[in-house]
Symmetry: C2
């Protein structure tokens, strides 16, 4: 099979790529550490509690929550089972869809979230937003939104649109 | 203890923060999936091979490699042990520092890296750089570098510099 010549990253792309990898890893580790230490939960549980607290009626279909958080079904199920044991969430069958399962936040979950939120927000500020000006906040939102949009396109659409390979 | 009033994220900060979390998670999962599928290694091993291949004499102190990749010592040791079993890296004691241990890339490791690189770079392009213009590449590099710099400051320096809390 003919291998197309790789289009290596330019120096500035490489710089951006490595900085992005390191920054996202450091931010992820730091936020997880802070939440584990101060609230006894990993970052993923916090995100789930936020998602549930914002849902209408404070409950949502498991599949919809997985889609919104971009978690795999198995990752979400694992987290929800553990959070259920903490008494933070509860599952029940969906009245209108026999295959669907709803998950909702309990009073204890809402209270855990309320307790965790101030320390978490302070850490997010210290890690990210204290460093950036308003213009950069907009740039970061735009850049990440474009990456997400690209990632959500089906593989076939990406392939169709990709420039022809090889040559050079 | 008096609790300072939390300075919640503004709408635009919240938008940027959520997009950053989702984008970094999706990029991380996608790159890891691609490397596992096509090269039989997680993304972390790829980053280690790159780090070693760029080091002078193709070997580096374990502590220095951990620092450069921002991996914990235990995470790096675990990865290196597994890569050693693959024959991709080798450890040896440092001549000039009895406490230091050097790790180097083997010919098999260099070959695994060379085989993996074209597919990996194509995936990085598809996931990130095909979406961004040159200006955004520069913005992303700058934003992430600022986040990293902030994270590298010792905690005490951050506290000293932080604006006074409370009020409002």
């Amino acid at each position: 099979m003919a291998t197309p010549k790789p289009k290596w990253l330019t120096a500035s792309e490489q710089q951006a790529w490595r900085a992005f990898l390191v920054a996202s890893q450091l931010v992820d580790e730091r936020l997880d550490r802070q939440l584990q230490r101060d609230a006894g939960m990993p970052h993923a549980y916090y995100a789930i509690l936020v998602g549930l607290s914002e849902a209408p009626h404070r409950s949502v279909r498991m599949s919809e929550l997985a889609r919104r958080l971009r978690y795999s079904q198995s990752r979400l199920t694992h987290a929800i089972s553990s959070m259920e044991r903490n008494g933070w969430v509860e599952r029940r069958d969906c009245d209108t869809d026999r295959r669907g399962q709803l998950v909702g936040i309990t009073a204890a979950g809402a209270s855990a979230l309320a307790d965790a939120a101030p320390g978490h927000v302070a850490e997010v500020r210290a890690a990210v937003f204290d460093r950036l000006n308003a213009e950069q906040v907009g740039q970061l939102a735009e850049i990440c939104a474009q990456i997400i949009t690209g990632m959500d396109e089906p593989e076939t659409a990406r392939r169709r649109r990709a420039p022809p390979r090889g040559g050079g």
